[in-house]
Amino acid sequence: MNMKRIALFLFIMVSLQGCREDVNESTSSKNIFESLWTILDEKYCFFDAKNVDWDEIHDKYAAKIDTIPANSELLFNTLGEMICELKDGHVNLYAAENVIRYWKWFEDFDNPNFSEKLEKAYLGTNYKIASGLNYKMLNDSIGYITYRSFSASITDAGLDYILYYFKDCHGIILDVRENSGGNLSNVEKIASRFTEKKIIGTYIRHKIGKGHNDFSDYCPMYITPSTRNRYTKKVVILTNRKCYSATNTFISTMRQLPNVTIMGDNTGGGGGFPISSMLPNGWNVRFSSCSTYNSDHELIENGIVPDSVVSITDSDSEKNIDTIIEKARSFLKE
C-alpha cells in the first residue's frame, strides 16, 4: 500500500514538470514573422493614434514571407519594412549585423537647423562643462547651455553651480537641439530647477491588456520645484527635428512654465516608452508600449510645435551666425 502511494507521489512529481508554456520556437520565416507581428499586435500602443490597420499589414506581408529563406537578410529587411509602417522612431529590429530603424522624423527635412560649425562659433573652446552640460556666458550677458543627450548624467552640484553662475544674466538659452533623448529622470531633474510651483509635466498611459485600446488611466508625471538653486528669469529652449523621446517630454513639460519660451523647429516626437522583446531566432525588437501626453491630454508622439518657429538661414550660416540663437538673444534682451 505504501509503495503504491510513493509511486503515486513520484508520478505527480514528474507529471507536474509537464506544465510548460506552449511556445512555438521554430525559426522558420513564417514563425519569425508571426511572432513579431503578434508581439506588436498585443503590446504596441499607437495603432489607433497613427491610424494603422495592423491586420491589413499582416496580410500584406504574410503573402511575401513564405518564399523568403529563414534567417536571411531578405527576411530581416522585409520585417524591417513591416515595422517601419508604424512610422515610429522607437521601433527597431536588431540582429547581430544590423539594426532596422525609422528615422524619417528628421531625415525627411532638409534644414537640420543645427550645425557643429555654428555651435563651435558660439561656444568656442573655453566653455565650461558640468555634468553633461556645456555652458558659457555670451558677451551680451546671456547664459548659453547646450545639452546633447538626456543619457548624460546630471548632478545637483553641477546644476547648482551653473544656475549660480548665470544668476545675474538677462536670461538663459538652453540648447537641446540634436538631443534625441535618454533618461526621463534627467528631465525632472532639470525642469525642477525652472519652476516655482508643482506642475503636471506630462501624463503616461500604459497598455493593460492585449487589445489595441486597452489603456490605463492617465498617470501624471509631476515636476516639483527643487529646493536647491533655481532660475526663474526668462529661459529660451532651442529645438529642432532631432529632439526626440525624453527631449520631447522635456520640451512638453518646460513649455508650461511662464518664464520659458520654445524656439526653433518642430520636435521629432517620440512620445512612447519603449520596451524590448525577442524573436525565436534571436533577433530583438524594440517598440513603444506606453504613450505620453501633454498636460492637456494631447499625444506628443508626433512632435511639438515651438512657441516661435525660427530656422537657420543660408546667409546667416555662411556668416557663422546661428539665426535661432540670435533670435533667442534678442528675445531675452527685450
Binding site: 507536474l16 510548460r20 508554456e21 501624471p220 520596451i275 525577442m278 534571436g282
Partner: protein, 282 residues
C-alpha cells in the same frame, strides 16, 4: 468603500490571523523537547518563462539551498517523558530556501533568476502507525526574487514578491535496511490564497516606483491565478547515535502565475544532499 466586502481585505485578515497563530506557536514551544535542524544543498534544472520579459522560455542549471527547523509544540503533548517527534501531534516547521538559476533560450538569450522564500508551517500528525505516519497543516510563506534578461535593453528585469497561505501534507515510512533504520519522507505543499505583486500588462517599473503609479499592482491570489507548489521525497540515513542523519532528496518546485495578463512559469527539479542534526535542549 465597504472594506469588509473586498476579498483582498478578507484575505489579509485570514493571513494575518494565521501568521499570529504561527508566531504564538513558537512562543509556546516546549524547550525540553527534541528538535531538528537540517541543511540541504541541491543542484538541478529550472525552466523559466516570463512573458513580461520575453515570449521565449529559458532553461538551465540551478542551485538550491534550504534549511528547515522542526520542533514539537505544547499542544496535545503525551504524558510520557519521551517527547520525540514520534510521540507528538503538533510540530512547527520553519524553512528558508534560496534558489539561483541561469537559463538560456533556444535563440541564445540569457536570463538570470534568484529567489528567497521563508515558510512557517503548523503541522498536525493525523495518522500514526508503528512504521508510518501522515501529517498535514497550514503554512504561511513569504517569497521574493526576480529575473533579469541580458538581451532586453529597455525592460530587462521583473520582480516577484508574494505572500502565500497554503496547505502542507507529509508522510513518512520507516524501514530497516542493512541494520539501519531508514526513513522515507514525502512532503508536499500547495498555495491556496495570498497576495502577490505584479505590474500591469505593459507597465514599466519606472512608472511604479518612480512615478508612484501603483494601482492594481497588488493581486489577491488563488489557485486559478497562482499555482505554487513544492514537493520533496527524501531518504534519511542515520549517521551516529541517532543524533544526526544524512538526507538525500529530490525536490520539485513550481510557480505558475497569471496576473494582469502577464504569465510566468518557474518549474524546477533539484537533487539535494543534506545533513540533519537532532537536538535535545535541557
Amino acid at each position: 468603500m465597504n472594506r469588509s466586502a473586498n476579498p483582498s481585505f478578507k484575505s489579509i485578515r485570514i493571513i494575518l490571523l494565521t501568521l499570529g497563530v504561527c508566531l504564538l506557536q513558537n512562543l509556546h514551544a516546549q524547550s525540553r523537547d527534541q528538535k531538528s535542524l537540517d541543511w540541504q544543498l541541491g543542484a538541478g534544472n529550472t525552466y523559466l518563462y516570463d512573458d513580461y520579459l520575453s515570449p521565449l522560455p529559458h532553461e538551465g542549471a540551478s542551485l538550491l539551498f534550504s534549511s528547515t527547523g522542526t520542533k514539537p509544540l505544547k499542544w496535545n503533548l503525551p504524558d510520557s517523558l519521551d517527547r520525540s517527534f514520534e510521540n507528538v501531534k503538533w510540530t512547527n516547521q520553519s524553512n528558508f530556501t534560496l534558489n539561483a538559476v541561469y537559463g538560456q533560450s533556444l535563440a541564445g538569450s540569457n536570463m538570470f533568476h534568484g529567489n528567497i522564500e521563508l515558510k512557517n508551517s503548523l503541522i498536525r500528525k493525523v495518522i500514526y502507525r508503528p512504521t508510518w505516519s501522515a501529517s498535514t497543516g497550514p503554512y504561511l510563506l513569504l517569497g521574493g526574487g526576480g529575473r533579469y534578461c541580458l538581451q532586453n535593453g529597455n525592460n530587462p528585469g521583473s520582480l516577484d514578491i508574494y505572500l502565500d497561505f497554503g496547505l502542507t501534507v507529509s508522510t513518512n515510512y520507516q524501514f530497516n535496511f542493512w541494520k539501519k533504520q531508514l526513513k522515507l519522507t514525502y512532503q508536499g505543499s500547495l498555495a491556496l490564497s495570498g497576495l502577490a505583486f505584479s505590474p500591469e500588462y505593459a507597465e514599466s517599473y519606472y512608472e511604479i516606483f518612480y512615478l508612484k503609479n501603483n494601482k492594481n499592482i497588488l493581486k489577491y491570489t488563488h489557485p486559478l491565478n497562482n499555482q505554487h507548489w513544492m514537493q520533496q521525497l527524501s531518504l534519511d540515513v542515520p549517521l551516529s547515535h541517532r543524533k544526526s542523519s544524512l538526507r538525500l532528496s529530490v525536490r520539485n518546485d513550481g510557480h505558475i502565475t497569471l496576473f494582469n495578463n502577464i504569465r510566468t512559469r518557474i518549474l524546477s527539479t533539484h537533487f539535494s544532499v543534506g545533513y540533519i542534526r537532532y537536538f535535545k535542549i535541557l
